[in-house]
Subunit: 213 residues, 2 copies
Amino acid sequence: MTVASATAAEPDRPARVSGIDKIERRRVALAESALKTLGELGYARTSLREIANNSEFTHGVVHYYFRDKIDLISYCVRYYKTKCARRYDEVVETAASADELSTGFLAKMTQTLVEETPMHKLWYDLRAQSMFEDQLRPDVEMIDKLLEDMIWRLLTRYAELTGSTPAVDAPTAYALVDGLFEQAVVGYSANPDTVPGQLAGRITQVLPKLVTA
Amino acid sequence: MTVASATAAEPDRPARVSGIDKIERRRVALAESALKTLGELGYARTSLREIANNSEFTHGVVHYYFRDKIDLISYCVRYYKTKCARRYDEVVETAASADELSTGFLAKMTQTLVEETPMHKLWYDLRAQSMFEDQLRPDVEMIDKLLEDMIWRLLTRYAELTGSTPAVDAPTAYALVDGLFEQAVVGYSANPDTVPGQLAGRITQVLPKLVTA
DNA sequence: GACTTTGTTTGACAGTTGTCAAGAAAACGC
DNA sequence: GCGTTTTCTTGACAACTGTCAAACAAAGTC
């Protein structure tokens, strides 16, 4: 259908040097508002007008700052990454023992599961959409890599603290942990009380199996 | 938005007793055609007219056999389950050694990954959609349970053949394997040559870790 | 203060969507 | 054969979509 170009989303819009970050700030505001709507409704049910309605802007402004819908969504995805891929860094860096690392990681993980559910729902939605919409794939791939690295940092640190070595490679470790997390995200709405605890228990069970004794 | 009812999809349509399975056969034909389109385009981009166009029927027929769009999709999902949840049963039942089970399972798994990619893409898409569309959740939950049972049968048999016992519960085992499989499905289009082999290797690596030595 | 640039609003467009209803066609019972 | 029921076609509807452009307001420049 849409054979259109629009692969890169860099702003070739006229902008004086002093106002360039003002534009960027507007974009961020738009993106944040869009992410809120997207997280609630999902990709398929979110229209540009809905995004504009749930924001302080009108639907025309969206097209002033973004070329088209995909450009906006793509920007949102990339913006979203900056908020999540470094989520466990502090825990990983400061933990002095395997137990401290494990509990700290689990605390942050269940916390984001509970407090940022819509964002995680959106992420899994967008990753599914990227299988059908080619323009979404590069951004999704990038974030997937970021998350994989994040998990890998955790696992190598965990191995270090337990005096062992990772027993699986980075993509495998990420896929396993992500499988558990996605299961939790999907099931969270139906069982908000039990799911976070179950997730923590399962991660605790699995983590030791990912390093060699 | 849609507060509508339409939870059950049973046909309360007038139908003479002799023609009731004729209706069912038409529904199946519609569903099969719809699944083909859905698998190619994904949930968000598939319209009832597109489904009708890619079939031998007109768009009016769709509404004659299905109350609305969700009713059709829901039926498709349930129909889809019958084709996949028993996929590994023969391997599980006939395998006489852990190796035979493992290689047989991996063969079938990589085969369906390659040959039925659209169907798997659709499944992960629909599961994501179910987080936003309540009417989809019961069907998705049912299939998830079916798949979990399938993996559990595999794992218990594997433990049996290796003289060990499962080291994780059924939901955990399913989440882990499913995480690896979804990763493969997402990455398959970009790297059709390397992904199946990688998936096989990773499953081979992980399976032994899911039972106690 | 006049003028240009930048930002925003509003309204319109062409296309698509799900849904439905009226009527044609086919199948069926007798 | 005819009347009835079931199946299908066709065309229409209202609502919604992404996109755009022209009018408008604001800010900045000289």
